[in-house]
């Protein structure tokens, strides 16, 4: 049995609200004559005189404190309220069972976040937030934070201190903890790690998610991104499948991609199992698509290379290792790995000519210098120029 206790402010609020009738989470209260009727979904019912409301409320303490928390303490904005209720499985569990679970702590995951909700005897919920990979970490090994806005800084870099341009990339750094947040603070912290996910998740639950598919999103672009429109040539959506496979699958982004090629045409790639939806191609995808639009304007050519079978496989290993972000894991002396540094250096020493051409085959046989990328501008310059642009 749990230890919920009703305080006088809660009884007062109950008396006031009962005048209009309360029905919430399996608990009902209404004024009747100069007394009240209190009832629960479990079938218990009490009729009490006005003076005796304290005692009766105490008997229904979990229900009363639960009602009070959700109406007087939790944020009332619909999406935040719904999210906080989802965290403690309010729609799935009746109050007494829920309270039993909350006493030990109810845990849910949101992307790479792990939220544990507990309740005190007054019904007030407290929230602990940490990285899913730190589930079993001792608190002493984690750095404590109490300002939810600290999450903005934590979200900026991964564990190797590299900048994370995509907040929902599964590279959230570990080693931190928000030990004791109130309900509003918890939502603020979650929204700082993963902005707008609570609002969009809620819209989706309500059947109101405003998805903007690839075609529509690309059609809206202007300035330096307007060019991406030319990548759709009315010849299907295979190129967009590749974009989604490159950027949006679960190994790259914890959002569940809901956008498709267009309203009628789904992409062939799975959107993933993320808890919260992605409603349109993000800026990282659009910026990459701009680059691909340019690169994919090239025609394929036939090149002839001299490679041993193992060298061909090694090139495939290297592409795989880069694409899967595994290069750092490959040990220095593990020469059995094709993407090992010594192996790659050996391949380069043997197969590249002085101009960096694989097997001495120049990229463009017509041009004197092969191999170089004609486009000299860097991503930094592109970004700076765009910021100043008026085109």
């Amino acid at each position: 049995m749990n230890a919920a206790q009703v305080d006088s402010a809660q009884v007062e609020a109950l008396a006031e609200a009962a005048a209009d009738g309360i029905e919430f989470d399996g608990f009902a209260a209404e004024a009747e004559g100069d007394g009240y009727v209190l009832a629960t979904e479990a079938g218990s019912k009490r009729v009490v005189h006005g003076d005796a409301l304290d005692d009766a409320a105490a008997e229904y303490a979990p229900y009363v404190t639960n009602w009070y928390f959700w109406h007087a303490e939790a944020p009332q904005a619909e999406d935040r309220w719904a999210y906080l209720r989802w965290l403690e499985r309010a729609d799935d569990e009746r109050v007494p069972d829920r309270y039993d679970a909350l006493e030990a702590g109810t845990t849910r995951e949101w992307g790479q976040l792990r939220v544990t909700v507990t309740v005190d005897e007054a019904g007030t919920r407290r929230y602990e937030l940490r990285h899913v990979d730190d589930a079993d970490a001792a608190p002493a090994d984690l750095t404590d934070h109490d300002d939810p806005l600290d999450a903005r800084q934590l979200a900026k870099h991964d564990d190797r201190d590299r900048y994370r341009p995509l907040k929902t990339a599964p590279t959230l750094q570990t080693g931190w903890r928000f030990a004791d947040l109130g309900p509003g603070e918890l939502v603020r912290a979650v929204e700082s790690f993963y902005p707008a996910t609570v609002a969009n998740w809620h819209r989706e639950r309500e059947g109101e998610l405003d998805i903007s598919h690839w075609r529509e999103t690309i059609g809206r672009q202007s300035g330096i991104y307007g060019v991406v429109r030319t990548w759709d040539r009315g010849e299907g959506h295979e190129h967009v499948d590749w974009v989604a496979e490159a950027c949006c699958v679960d190994s790259q982004c914890v959002k569940r991609r809901e956008w498709q090629y267009d309203e009628e045409t789904d992409l062939d790639v799975d959107g993933g199992d993320g808890e919260f939806p992605c409603r349109e191609p993000c800026s990282v995808v659009i910026a990459a698509a701009r680059r691909w639009t340019k690169l994919e304007g090239e025609q394929s050519r036939t090149y002839e290379f001299e490679l041993t079978p193992s060298e061909k496989e090694q090139i495939e290993d290297i592409v795989d290792a880069v694409a899967d972000g595994r290069t750092e894991e490959i040990r220095e002396a593990d020469v059995y790995e094709g993407a090992n540094r010594y192996r790659a250096r050996f391949l380069r020493a043997k197969r590249f000519d002085d101009d960096g051409n694989l097997s001495g085959v120049s990229t463009d046989p017509e041009e004197a210098e092969g191999g170089a990328d004609a486009d000299g501008s860097s991503a930094d310059e592109d970004e700076a120029a765009e910021e100043a642009s008026d085109d």
Partner: protein, 291 residues
């Protein structure tokens, strides 16, 4: 409820790009002038597309942390915020005089007071002066000093040059510095030749940029001859052609910028007089007279 949403460019490459936005938002948040303060970005999250749905308030002041009127303030931001009735004519601006427009966003049930960019507000002149004070460590800096306000030229955005000239003129009228000049990155008078344009031995150079990045930390320092390689850094001041150059880095990192954000919201009708006072006091702008 009322919210302030500061919208800025952000970056896919540079972690520091959003820092001034966060800092100014935090300064304003601490005043309690708004029920909610949020940041939204073009290249980061929350995106312009989704930032309005992250606030609960039904009255939202949107202040662009951009330097000039143009592509972003007139086209990208209103489009992405879904201010469907927006028309650049609403601002009735000569290129630096936009104040605000009141509109509805179509994906949320909110009234949006869409403000002009911080860069063209008159209070920005005070921030530039304060930036000069910060970099020289002298609250009375002026006499014996030249001041260069630096920005893009007209090549990409005609209004960009207008904003630079507007502030150079205003600061010139203050009679504080011996000389004040507007210099540009891609046209004459060019920042590369900064020492040619000043008689003063000491020249403070303030780039009118929101955040430090490629231009303010790589391009301009190398072009002015502060360093051959930006990665090795430079001294402040650095001696160039017999002048001492005091290079301040992006003006947008100056804490007093929070005041300009508030002024923008105030001009659009937000009741923030007390917050303005407090922010000026906290960020060293108490002596500055913005009006």
């Amino acid at each position: 409820m009322e919210a302030l949403v500061i919208v800025a460019h952000g970056s896919h490459l540079n972690a520091g790009s959003s820092t001034p936005t966060f800092d100014h938002a935090d300064t304003i948040r601490a005043t309690g002038a708004f029920d909610e303060v949020r940041e939204g970005f073009w290249k980061e999250e929350p995106s312009f597309r989704e930032v309005l749905r992250t606030v609960e308030s039904d009255e939202v002041y949107v202040v662009p942390l951009f330097i000039s009127e143009g592509y972003f303030t007139e086209e990208v931001i209103p489009r992405e915020l879904r201010l469907d009735d927006w028309d650049p004519e609403t601002w009735d601006s000569d290129g630096t005089s936009a104040t605000h427009a009141t509109l509805e966003a179509t994906d949320v049930d909110k009234t949006v007071h869409y403000c002009g960019p911080v860069g063209t507000h008159e209070a920005m002149s005070d921030v530039i002066v304060q930036r000069a004070e910060s970099v020289t460590g002298d609250p009375d800096v002026g006499e014996g000093f030249g001041l260069a306000v630096v920005g893009h030229g007209t090549e990409r955005n005609e209004n960009s040059a207008k904003a630079i000239e507007y502030h150079a003129d205003r600061i010139g009228e203050m009679d504080r510095f011996d000389e004040v000049k507007a210099l540009f990155m891609d046209e004459d008078p060019e920042v590369d030749d900064v020492t040619d344009f000043f008689e003063s031995d000491d020249i403070v150079v303030v780039p009118l940029f929101v955040a430090d990045g490629y231009h303010t930390q790589e391009d301009i320092p190398e072009d002015m001859g502060l360093t051959d390689d930006y990665r090795t850094g430079w001294d402040t001041p650095t001696e160039v052609d017999g002048h001492r150059i005091w290079y301040s880095g992006a003006v947008g990192t100056e804490p007093l910028m929070a005041d300009v954000v508030l002024e923008r919201a105030a001009d659009a009708g937000a009741d923030v007089a007390a917050a303005v006072e407090r922010v000026r006091e906290e960020t060293g702008g108490a002596g500055a007279t913005g009006d």
